[in-house]
């Protein structure tokens, strides 16, 4: 009964080929098949935003996509941003502004912010809050997160290209 398919895709620039069950969620594929456990799984029905990744450059809930749907896609996860020794500018801003506490929501929030910074360039804190509304954080509140995003945005603006 369990139907399998072979998929090919790129994750954080690296090519993968795997046989997966058709019903496997992209979130579980990233974590269990590829060992990329930076993508967190919270609610598994598209509410909490913890599993947010980029697929072909756009933020999506990886719990609301099947792995087989990512055939041929370019996926980016939090592991693609930076490493503990070399944080990305956005991650560095999160550290500097105390924008995380327990860290469970952080990978999803970072990937939402990557979409925001790359594709949307919000002008106001209100727009940042609007974009973050799809990611639940129950520790810090959002003030520090908004400050970090604002700082990363300002830094990106000051260094063109």
């Amino acid at each position: 009964m369990s139907e399998h398919r072979t998929i090919r895709l790129r994750v954080n620039g690296r090519a993968y080929e795997r046989s997966v069950e058709s019903r496997l969620l992209l979130s579980d594929f990233l974590r269990d098949a590829l060992g990329l456990t930076g993508t967190h799984v919270g609610c598994e029905h598209g509410v909490c935003g913890a599993c947010t990744v980029l697929v072909d450059g756009r933020s999506v809930r990886s719990c609301l996509m099947l792995a087989v749907q990512a055939e041929g896609a370019e996926v980016e996860t939090v592991e693609g941003l930076g490493s503990p020794d070399r944080l990305s500018p956005l991650q560095e801003a999160f550290r500097a502004h105390h924008a995380l506490q327990c860290g469970f929501c952080t990978p999803g929030i970072l990937m939402t912010c990557v979409d925001l910074l790359r594709n949307r360039r919000p002008a106001s804190d209100d727009e940042i809050r609007h974009a973050l509304s799809g990611n639940l954080c129950r520790c810090t509140g959002y003030d520090h997160i908004v400050r970090a995003v604002r700082a990363a945005l300002d830094a990106a603006r000051d260094t063109p290209g």
């Binding site: 009964m1 369990s2 139907e3 398919r5 069950e21 058709s22 019903r23 969620l25 579980d28 598994e44 029905h45 598209g46 935003g49 947010t52 756009r58 933020s59 999506v60 809930r61 719990c63 609301l64 996509m65 099947l66 087989v68 749907q69 055939e71 939402t112 979409d115 925001l116 609007h130 974009a131 509304s133 799809g134 990611n135």
Partner: protein
């Protein structure tokens, strides 16, 4: 919280998708953006034998202006619809209302056709389809079909489509050059399903409201046009008494449900308040 097993078909054409639907004899579901279907699968509220993924079918995306309408492909993502030049120019109400749909990552995947097919009575696009007299284009076997939005929505999550019928596009007939629009929604948190929303289109002629259309959502089994409120407003001067009469007409036309989030009385009251807000916004734009 994992989907039950199913046979997965990535259709490459509308014909292939329709063939798979027909063959499955009512046991298949179409997968578009998946932002409503995937949660239902994860919760196992649905157990389709076959899942027909239509995301790889070419030619079903985009919004383009035609002679008398804007044509929207069923697979157009909410984000792309919001940003489409034809929508920005001709139907800014659609771009505005879509900003209330869930959150960024959901709008990046969710599709126009998916929202209409899902037919949630508290969803923005179905209400706009009713307000804008949309023509909903579908395909079933070799036959193409077009239905008016008014005849499309039958109940909560129920449409006039047959199980082996597929929505392929939405046509929005162009509005008169000079018109105003208003959209007012209230939700507990931005992006949540609305407790209620009201949308209005009208023209301003010598201080009076003309060609008035009023639609509401979240306050019935389907999105609703409110002809009784439209009649009260048609030709009426834009004045506090007219707005109060319209709010009464809106409230009188509705029989909303009570639930955890709001009582029926509150929803009915709210719809009147939102109608006045939407009317004021529409008048300002029409008279500008």
């Amino acid at each position: 919280m994992k989907p039950p097993p199913f046979r997965y078909i990535a259709a490459r054409s509308v014909e292939e998708a329709l063939g798979a639907l027909h063959e499955a004899g009512g046991e298949a579901k179409l997968l578009a953006g998946g932002q409503s279907l995937m949660p239902m699968l994860n919760f196992r509220l649905l157990r389709p034998a076959v899942l027909v993924d239509i995301n790889r079918i070419p030619g079903l995306s985009g919004a383009t202006e035609d002679a008398d309408c804007v044509r929207i492909g069923a697979l157009t993502r909410h984000t792309d619809l919001q940003n489409a030049p034809a929508i920005r120019a001709r139907f800014p109400i659609v771009a505005d209302a879509l900003s209330h749909v869930a959150h960024l990552a959901v709008r990046n995947r969710g599709t126009a056709g998916g929202s209409l097919s899902h037919a949630d009575p508290a969803a923005e696009l179905p209400m706009l389809a009713c307000l804008l007299d949309a023509r909903i284009r579908t395909q079933r076997a070799a036959a193409a079909n077009t239905r008016d939005a008014a005849a499309f929505f039958l109940g909560p999550l129920a449409t006039a489509m047959e199980p082996d019928e597929m929505l392929v596009g939405i046509d929005l007939p162009l509005l008169p050059e000079r018109h105003g629009w208003g959209f007012a929604e209230h939700a507990r948190r931005h992006g949540d399903f609305a407790l209620a929303a009201v949308a209005v289109i009208l023209s301003a002629e010598n201080g009076s409201m003309r060609n008035v259309r009023v639609a509401a959502m979240g306050v019935g089994d389907t999105p609703l046009r409110l002809p009784s409120a439209e009649r009260v407003l048609e030709g009426a001067p834009f004045a506090p008494e007219s707005l109060a009469a319209a709010a009464d007409a809106v409230r009188g036309a509705l029989a909303p449900m009570s639930d955890l989030h709001a009582s029926a009385d509150y929803r009915r009251h709210l719809a009147g308040v939102l109608a006045v807000r939407a009317l004021r916004a529409a008048w300002e734009r029409a008279a500008a």
